[in-house]
Symmetry: C2
Subunit: 349 residues, 2 copies
């Protein structure tokens, strides 16, 4: 099969490798319908050291089941499925608490053992916990927009939803979303779904913030840093935002977050932090009782509720895709997302 590997910063290659095979009775093999490139893939695309050995990449996928191991009971060959970006048994103590990304037996795609999902085929460990069937839909004849929206349930939309959920977005709340990438726009859409009264989107790419407005943003702030903080405080009568959803992952975005959060408010981060240490003392979080939440989204926890929302057309999160490439052109997709000429790139096979 063809599959994508990263050899270092800026060096993405699509190569022919052996097809994956069932290794454990709980495995499934799935064939890609659509995959895509994640904003988080851009972090190693910027900074990964050059290596002789390529690291398999990709973790977002909708697919058709090809083959299942002897122990798999909930999906069978021919089923059309959404693949959450982490695999999990969906039954351990942390999964039962809705923290599937901390599953005791789970893990992440993109390792030598498990492989990546920007590929023609993939081995899915713990298939019963890691695949969710889309009922009554034939991907071969399905509408392209619908497939795009289903694909976002593998990661990006439900990561935005996780941000909003952990931020306790609810009716009456003012929400500030930092970042107009695909996760930020998803966080806008999810906040609207959860009933936010006001949604301030901080971003400077007009095409993206325009989509943000269509998704439900009520205000757009293009300024950054201290100037951006002042603008958000002005928009909120000097009080600050009840909830801040940080969808970037760089330290300046976090600094903006504690600058605009209201006393007692919540900062919810889903941009993978590209820092370890950051201010949390009296002058940033503690003094105003600001709370901090967020982490890798337990997509699996939210999938059953989200699939019907997409199938009914209630939400169209797939609108974040503005570019589609064939698998062999994935390197071009990385370059376009990196150059910000594409917002989010879908991959066909």
């Amino acid at each position: 099969m063809r599959a994508t590997f990263m050899y270092g910063a800026g060096d993405v290659r699509v190569e022919t490798v052996p097809d994956p095979v069932i290794q454990q009775p709980t495995d499934a093999i799935v064939r890609t319908v659509r995959s895509c490139i994640c904003g988080s893939d851009l972090h190693p695309f910027h900074s990964a050291p050059a290596s002789e050995v390529g690291r398999p990449v990709g973790h977002e996928l909708i697919a058709v089941v090809e083959e299942v191991g002897a122990a798999v009971t909930t999906v069978r060959p021919g089923d059309f499925v959404v693949v959450p970006f982490a695999y999990q048994d969906n039954s351990c103590v942390f999964c039962r608490e809705g923290m599937q990304t901390a599953c005791i037996h789970g893990g992440f795609y993109g390792t030598a053992e498990v492989g990546g999902l920007q590929a023609e085929l993939a081995r899915i460990p713990l298939a019963d916990g890691s695949l969710v069937r889309v009922p009554d839909l034939d991907p071969a004849s399905a509408d392209g927009g619908l497939l795009a929206s289903l694909l976002t349930l593998s990661d990006v939309y439900l990561t935005g939803h996780h941000a909003a959920f952990m931020g306790r977005v609810e009716p009456g709340k003012t929400v500030t979303v930092i970042g107009d990438g695909a996760v930020g726009l998803s966080a806008v859409l999810a906040s609207r779904q959860l009933g936010a009264e006001r949604i301030i989107l901080m971003g400077r790419h007009r095409v993206r913030t325009d989509l943000g407005v269509e998704f439900g943003a009520t205000d757009v702030v293009a300024e950054r840093g201290g100037e951006g903080i002042t603008r958000v405080l002005d928009l909120t009568d000097g009080e600050g935002s009840h909830v801040v959803l940080e969808a970037v992952g760089h330290l300046p975005a976090y600094e903006q977050a504690y600058g605009v959060v209201r006393p007692g408010g919540i900062i919810s981060r889903v941009g993978v932090p590209q820092y370890e240490e950051a201010p949390i003392g009296f002058g940033s979080l503690f003094g105003k009782n600001a709370r901090l939440a967020g982490g890798p989204a337990p997509v699996r926890a939210y999938l059953e509720a989200a699939i019907p929302q997409v199938l009914s057309g209630a939400i169209e999160p797939g609108r974040v895709f503005d570019r589609t490439v064939a698998l062999d052109d994935v390197p071009t997709g990385y370059a376009e997302m990196d150059a910000r000429t594409a917002l989010k790139v879908m991959v066909t096979v």
Copy 2:
């Protein structure tokens, strides 16, 4: 009157100064019944630079109202009151949201303008928002233990309660309390009140942890650092604690907190952080979706519910006091708390 001033690390003096007077129609003047020394007073006692001008200190008080300004309507001379450690109007937008320590018009005691509360008399700004009457009790004839417990509602017990409240302690939860000082022990008692199933107290001072057990701790862990983390993980089947209440304020205590918190769990801090930057990235909070909460306790928000709990004898948080000094002996009280020969020192006049 006599009042307490700090001139630098280790240099606390009780001096005679002019009596405070009504400055604003919203002020009240109160006469001390009991005051006390706070663990947070020990931070400047360790590190404040020497100064020619003493800073007034003390922020915990039960008192009798002497005089009120023309605009004060809720208390009158003779009323016995609890004084929250911050003053507030209790009516601004943040007060209405239960974040009185962020009151737009409020502030903290211990400034040249407002004075400290380790004194015979005190000026209370915004008296309607900042004084809560204790009904039907004459402090002159009240039981000493009852007065001690009422005094803890000014700060220490309700700071422990705030930690537990922001940590969302509830029945079924495992709570780890870091620190066996008066706030940590208060957090144990508050967690028990909120129905915690299991309360692990991390502390190494036997007399204090014994009181913690009487307050409701089910386990005591004397080890610190990596060894302490291992012990707590062992006690929780390797899963970690749903809630961690950090009642110290030093970085190693915070590091212990993210070491023992469970995926998706909450760290709630009430020890005033003696650091600004700390780990919050993938390896500490983000990777396991751990949440961070806490800050200066909005004692005012909790007072009306807590006073009847003390008056009925349902809780006896005043047991944290193990030493009483007269106002002129406050410097000795600081030295004893600093040397850990006293857990918490009450001050009479």
